[in-house]
């Protein structure tokens, strides 16, 4: 299979994923939103926008939750892992459509640093998921498989990065092809797995922020001081 063919299949998979996501959201919005009758309360801001924005972006604040502060290394891993996801996805489009950018050594290096970092976190996460009694108790086969799939994908993406240059692409590098094949599978698998959590994140947090904002809980202030 040529790289070009894999890249086309990859775009088809992207289309399928988008379609499934649309159906998922249609399913989600079939459930009614609860009506809120309570009058606004509390000392915090009750402006709906402030609490909703707080709810959405609190995850970006390393001090925002006790769970982040207590587990700062896990939080750091979370950041590195998700930066790696963004980098590995972006790189697939760059190689396919803006391959010239891969001639710049710093572009390749940036992708590699971000993605290898995520790969290392993937390994740490696998160890934690298998080693922790608490995580084993809550983990499903999907949890293990998704993590392994992403880690393999990171490894392939980081290894294939140096071969993304237009002149090297023509050689049909096996690593590049493997990277696109795994990414294609990944795109098809994601909507049916827990990896699709990011699809629901804005909505789950929107409703939580709206509700807790009206009750004066969000935005949160103090707590451990």
């Amino acid at each position: 299979m040529s790289l070009h063919t894999v890249q086309i299949i990859h775009y088809v998979a992207l289309g399928v994923m988008t379609l499934v996501y649309v159906l998922r959201l249609r399913w989600f919005f079939r459930f009614p939103a609860a009506k809120e009758r309570q009058p606004p309360s509390g000392t915090g801001s009750v402006k709906p926008t402030a609490s909703i924005f707080y709810s959405w972006f609190n995850v970006a604040n390393p001090l925002g939750m006790e769970s982040f502060r207590k587990h700062w290394f896990l939080y750091l891993q979370f950041v590195v892992f998700h930066l790696g996801v963004v980098a590995a996805i972006t790189m697939s489009f760059v190689i396919a459509d803006f391959a010239g950018l891969m001639n710049h050594r710093w572009v390749v290096l940036t992708f590699q640093i971000l993605i290898w970092g995520a790969f290392a976190v993937g390994i740490l996460r696998i160890i934690r998921r298998v080693g922790s009694k608490y995580l084993r108790a809550i983990s499903s086969p999907d949890d293990y498989f998704s993590l392994v799939l992403l880690t393999v994908w990171f490894g392939l993406a980081a290894s294939a990065a140096p071969y993304g240059r237009p002149d090297l692409q023509a050689a049909g590098n096996t690593l590049l092809i493997a990277y696109y094949v795994v990414q294609t599978f990944f795109l098809l698998y994601v909507p049916f797995s827990k990896i699709s959590h990011y699809l629901y994140y804005p909505f789950t947090r929107y409703y939580l922020g709206k509700s807790l904002g009206r009750r004066g809980v969000y935005p949160m202030e103090g707590g451990s001081a």
């Binding site: 009058p39 000392t43 006790e66 979370f78 608490y134 108790a137 789950t204």
Partner: protein
């Protein structure tokens, strides 16, 4: 309607699944589909911290007991590949009993895990929903059944009879008017057009009438135009704990309708975390009732009286070091965290903050109706070690809280862990600090 395996499923299990669908709304579904099993919620739970090494107390583990039903019956992947995502169903009454043990006996719905979840999974909300499903088929701890029955039939959750309630108000009126030497210092009952309709927790009538007397002193000192209703006076609501929205709506409606009947301007709730949350926040939703009057906690009222100069207080009358325990319902579900502190600083000389505090505070372990579920008492008291350590570290001899349920929970753990502390409420401190002119 869930038809799968319905021929072999017990009637109760079938009913639970059928009713599950009706309970689902977008907020709930968001929480049910979003968990990534990251485990960050694990040690936010006092049960986990007090039971190291036992994963069955972990919030995500407990949540999955409910989530598996959602996945199996409502979510695509779970319907097609149930084992792949740990989807499952309930077939027998024994399985419902197991679920009861988790949702009633291993969680106080304190919402601490919710605020520590990066995804915003509101476990406490769907745990309450699961309680409601079980209650609807009669699967619940005996205490929950008893208290719910009392609140349905007698109108309050402690089975206080109308004559006992009115006798207590009269008794407190006599005590206070004698103490102050003022015959006008009495509780007005069913007074029309009052600025304040004051509602209480039946625990005050049964075990702590002193708090009613103290409230009378505060209102009297402020020359408030207030009243207490002869009916619809119980602002607590067991529907919050049992997950029974019908009970929640009926109880809240009773209080609202009485306030309207009396043409009261503001409904004030005495210090009670779940009562405040039920009446102020959730009640209008359960009862589908748009509230035409103001509602506030007595903490707000007392603070306003001091700020407006309607009452004068002398903090030197409360010289001992005190600490403050945030009720989960007040702090994590109603945002009532700063007002009690402001009031405390005005009526106490020495205040030591507990760590962590406000919305990060730990549950007293008596929340979520746990005090009424005696079968789980050993488990509850074991988990209370977290709160006990937190209180001990303050060095205070007095712990103040704005919740009657917490008063009982804290007193229980003080006895169990032999702490040299006592529990009091803000109304007691304010009444004690009053300067009479």
């Amino acid at each position: 309607m869930i038809s799968q395996n319905s021929e072999t499923r017990s009637h109760k299990a079938q009913m639970v699944l059928d009713r599950f669908e009706k309970k689902l709304n977008r907020q709930m579904v968001g929480s049910l589909v979003s968990c990534v099993h990251c485990g960050l919620c694990t040690d936010s739970c006092h049960y986990v911290l007090a039971n190291p090494g036992d994963p069955t107390y972990a919030p995500a583990y407990k949540a999955d007991k409910i989530r598996k039903l959602f996945k199996r019956h409502f979510d695509w992947t779970g319907k097609v590949f149930p084992k792949w995502v740990k989807a499952g169903t309930v077939m027998t009454d024994e399985e419902l009993e197991e679920l009861k043990d988790t949702v009633f006996g291993k969680c106080t719905n304190c919402r601490r895990c919710t605020l520590n979840c990066p995804m915003g999974v509101d476990f406490a909300t769907f745990n309450r929903m699961a309680r409601g499903l079980l209650v609807s088929v009669g699967v619940m701890p005996e205490g929950v059944a008893t208290v719910s029955k009392d609140q349905w039939e007698i109108g309050n959750q402690m089975g206080v009879l109308p004559e006992d309630y009115l006798d207590t108000l009269e008794w407190m009126s006599e005590e206070v008017s004698e103490e102050l030497g003022d015959p006008a210092a009495v509780i007005p009952v069913d007074k029309m057009d009052a600025d304040i309709v004051y509602t209480i927790n039946p625990r005050e009538v049964k075990y702590d009438p002193r708090s009613i007397a103290d409230a009378l002193k505060v209102f009297h000192a402020a020359k408030a135009n207030w009243t207490m209703p002869s009916e619809g006076w119980d602002m607590t609501n067991f529907g919050l704990f049992s997950g029974d929205d019908d009970l929640g709506g009926a109880v809240a409606r009773r209080v609202y309708e009485k306030t309207i009947e009396l043409r009261g301007k503001c409904l004030v709730m005495s210090e009670c975390g779940h009562g405040y949350r039920s009446t102020r926040c959730e009640g209008p939703n359960w009862a589908k009732f748009d509230i035409p009057f103001e509602m506030e906690s007595s903490v707000d009222t007392m603070l306003r009286y001091i700020k407006e100069g309607r009452i004068k207080v002398d903090k030197s009358k409360n010289p001992d070091l005190v600490t403050f325990h945030d009720s989960c319902n007040n702090a994590r579900s109603c945002g009532l965290t700063e007002e009690p502190r402001e009031l405390l600083q005005l009526v106490c000389e020495n205040f030591q903050e507990m760590v962590p505090n406000r919305a990060e505070n730990f549950c007293c372990t008596g929340g979520g109706g746990a005090m009424s579920m005696t079968e789980y008492t050993p488990r509850r008291l074991k988990s209370a070690v977290i709160k006990a350590d937190q209180m001990k570290a303050t060095g205070a001899k007095i712990v103040v809280t704005t919740c009657h349920n917490c008063v009982d929970g804290l007193n229980d753990l003080i006895r169990h862990y032999k702490l040299d502390m006592k529990v009091t409420q803000l109304v007691n401190l304010v009444a004690n600090a009053l300067v009479w002119e």
